[in-house]
């Protein structure tokens, strides 16, 4: 599969599912000079023709919520391993959260993260800046300056902006900007000491529970503050019925409020914490919820109430998970299962159309993060994943590119596999192998 940098690539008979243009049809795609080209064009360069028969081409898969852990926690993940995991999972764009050490609360760190990613050349990284200095929850960080430096949004993710007054200030300020305040909604007093969803399973296992209301109470507060301020609010990893109601209320009022959901909240329930019991791969915040909530989230995604899917990719070192359940780290390493999990559950159980499902993973996060992209159109940067929608495979984190092997999908069979990923007109992954990395 060797390829000269100047070679053009022609894909024949591929099903192009392009949510940016709202089109889903079989056709021919020509890529050259880093961009899509008119298929009818006769290029001067050599053209490699490939059959795309049976494959899906989806442009610009975007995961708007990942943790690359750098600077400061490179034993969990870094830009190299995280970027490789992203392209292995089919993604072209990821938004990285700010809860690193030091916290990404200044324009210099935003620029450093962008430069790190650019040097690797695998995936576009959109850094999310902190809302408050040092995630301290007391003073606003320099949001506008970070935006000028390339921040795609602002979040204290990992913890909420707990203060109502500060959240009001942040939302008010965001009304002057293009990028949202992304809230990890959690009333820390209601969730205090909790390690899983509060319900029958936590009662049986003797684990301290986190009630649904720890999320929904804060989301209701936040949507009211969004109404007060006309701010841009994005609700991260939504996982409760009350939050869905608040979201519907906000949207019915025409507020600038959006939400994302994580694949693990659509795939698993809290029963998974009990079988096998105390498996710390299931420990995640917000926690896995009961089946009625899971189904409601899936339905809300299908109807478009929930805008986007984001993995909340949270890699940890094995030592941080290999502890008693109550003491293990929260988080699921999700970049390398996100797409297949969504094909399995979104197209399978929820019976979404591929175009609708991929809209939640491409165009919606672009819209939320204020990014422009036109889709598979001549002149647009050639970013896409080629997917075998029928492939069935068993999840084996041991072979992943992410340093985080913490996955509740371990051993689970999923449908749909990314065959190759292209970024800026170059293959970054082929047949499961990352093929282009500056530091390789």
């Amino acid at each position: 599969m060797s390829q000269d940098a100047t070679d053009w690539i022609r894909l024949e008979g591929v099903r192009v599912i392009d949510p940016f243009r709202g089109q889903d049809q079989e056709g021919e795609v020509l890529v050259g000079d880093g961009t899509f080209q008119e298929p009818t064009l006769s290029p001067r360069s050599r053209v490699r023709t490939m059959s795309g028969r049976g494959l899906w081409l989806v442009p610009r898969l975007t995961d708007m919520h990942v943790h690359f852990r750098s600077p400061g926690q490179e034993w969990k993940e870094d830009f190299r391993s995280g970027s490789m995991a992203a392209v292995h999972g089919g993604f072209s764009v990821v938004a990285t959260m700010a809860n690193t050490d030091p916290v990404v609360d200044s324009v210099s760190l935003i620029q450093w993260q962008k430069a790190e990613a650019k040097a690797l050349g695998l995936v576009e990284v959109v850094p999310i800046g902190a809302v408050t200095k040092g995630l301290g929850g007391e003073e606003l960080a320099e949001l506008w300056t970070m935006e000028q430096g390339g921040a795609g949004g602002f979040s204290d993710d990992g913890r909420p902006v707990a203060s109502s007054a500060l959240m009001r200030a942040a939302l008010s300020y965001s009304s002057t900007m293009r990028h949202p305040i992304i809230q990890h909604a959690e009333d820390l007093e209601l969730s205090h000491l909790g390690v899983m969803h509060e319900g029958d399973v936590s009662g049986r296992l003797g684990l301290t529970g986190i009630p649904l209301e720890a999320e929904s109470a804060m989301v209701w507060r936040d949507v009211q503050l969004a109404a007060l301020t006309n701010g841009r609010l994005h609700i991260a990893h939504i996982s409760s019925l009350g939050a869905l109601e608040a979201l519907a209320w906000a949207k019915s009022r025409g507020l600038k409020v959006t939400a994302e959901v994580a694949p693990h909240h659509l795939f698993f329930t809290d029963a998974r914490v009990g079988a096998p019991a105390y498996d710390t791969a299931t420990k995640v915040n917000p926690p896995l919820r009961p089946d009625n909530v899971r189904q409601a989230l899936l339905a809300a995604l299908k109807m478009g109430l929930i805008d986007a899917v984001a993995s909340d990719h949270a890699p940890h070192h094995a030592d941080e998970k290999d502890r008693p359940y109550a003491q293990a780290a929260f988080g699921i390493s999700g970049l390398e299962t996100s797409l297949a999990a969504m094909i399995t559950i979104g197209l399978g159980e929820a019976e979404m159309t591929p175009l609708a499902l991929f809209e939640r993973m491409t165009r919606a996060p672009h819209r939320i993060l204020g990014m422009d992209y036109v889709g598979v159109v001549a002149g647009a940067r050639a970013d896409f994943a080629l997917i075998d929608p029928k492939a069935r495979w068993s999840v084996e984190p041991g072979g992943w590119y992410s340093k985080g092997k913490n996955s509740p999908w371990m051993g689970t069979e999923l449908t749909g596999r990314v065959i190759s990923t292209m970024y800026g007109g170059h293959w970054t992954m082929q047949e499961g192998e990352v093929v282009r990395c500056a530091q390789l």
């Binding site: 509060e198 319900g199 029958d200 399973v201 936590s202 009662g203 049986r204 296992l205 003797g206 684990l207 301290t208 019991a277 105390y278 030592d319 290999d322 502890r323 008693p324 359940y325 109550a326 003491q327």
Partner: protein
């Protein structure tokens, strides 16, 4: 085989074990208690959480059966030096122990430990999950008094949410055919325990009406600090077991408490010292007997409904 929760064992297994415990009780009532049954076996008591009663009880149980017993305390040990729990477990394995008795403040630790260890693991209390030997000794104490468990109604009063004793009692009594009532403030009731055999009551009088057994749970002072109850005095007034409250149960009611007791809070002194109804000291004696039976069953026991 391990003992993590009483649900690990069938009703027949439990009955056989209780019969064995009665035989063990006869042993410890002899002038010379020590028998050579587990001679040459080594048992480790690994307690990551402070305990006097349960640890002493397991230690005596092992020693009465002739086993060598070591005590390993979580505090002041390699745990405080930063060793991980699972490394501690591997170390124990390498010492060729025959059984590990474990108590830990985090729910689930004995179960995960049992997956790491080849030798039997006996749960001596994990977080707010289970305390199966306490459940066994409670069942044994009630069975001694009534001759049976089936058909009895057992009220468990107090902080069920944080109680590993309650969860084990529920499993043991329900498996042998009793009905359970959980009685206490709603803020201290977990979800998920109710079933066709288990009902929940907020009112003490309703909850105790006609019951055969009352298990009184210890109420901890921190429940007041966390706002789950307004004060220990008000708790006593609404859910404390007084002589008057005792009269709501059936006349022959048996009173249990897993200890240590807060006299004047969850249970009154007069009730504790009521020789007719209180079985609190029987529980302690039976604790040694059931732990002997468990050790025998797991590391020495052929022919016990194996």
């Amino acid at each position: 085989m391990d003992l993590i929760s009483l649900n690990d064992w069938s009703g027949d297994d439990l009955i056989a074990l209780l019969d064995l415990a009665s035989a063990m009780k006869a042993v410890i009532r002899r002038p010379i208690k020590k028998v050579p049954t587990l001679r040459g076996k080594a048992v480790a008591n690994v307690f990551f959480e402070a305990s006097t009663r349960t640890r002493n009880s397991f230690e005596l149980a092992g020693k009465y059966l002739g086993a060598d017993v070591i005590n390993f305390q979580g505090s002041g040990s390699s745990i405080e030096k930063g060793e991980t729990l699972w490394d501690t477990v591997r170390t124990l394995q390498a010492m060729r122990l025959d059984a590990v008795v474990v108590r830990h403040g985090a729910s689930g630790v004995p179960q995960v430990m049992a997956e790491h260890l080849e030798v039997p693991v006996i749960n001596a209390g994990d977080g707010t999950h289970h305390h199966p030997t306490q459940g066994l000794l409670d069942v044994m104490t009630v069975r001694e008094r009534f001759g049976h468990i089936e058909g009895l109604t057992v009220a468990i009063v107090g902080d069920v949410l944080h109680s590993r004793v309650a969860r084990s009692d529920i499993e043991g009594f329900v498996r042998l055919g009793a009905k359970i009532r959980l009685v206490g403030p709603p803020s201290l009731m977990p979800s998920g325990l109710e079933s066709q055999h288990v009902a929940v009551y907020a009112d003490l009088k309703e909850g105790l009406a006609g019951v055969d057994v009352i298990q009184v749970l210890r109420i901890q002072k921190e429940r007041q600090q966390s706002g789950q109850i307004p004060s220990l005095r008000e708790y006593h007034d609404r859910w404390g077991l007084t002589q008057a409250a005792l009269s709501w149960a059936q006349p022959e009611v048996l009173v249990l408490h897993p200890g240590p007791q807060n006299r004047g809070v969850e249970i009154d002194s007069q009730v504790m010292e009521d020789r007719v109804h209180s079985a609190i000291l029987d529980q302690v004696e039976n604790g040694v007997a059931v732990r002997m039976a468990v050790l025998y069953r797991l590391i020495g026991g052929e022919g016990v409904s194996a």
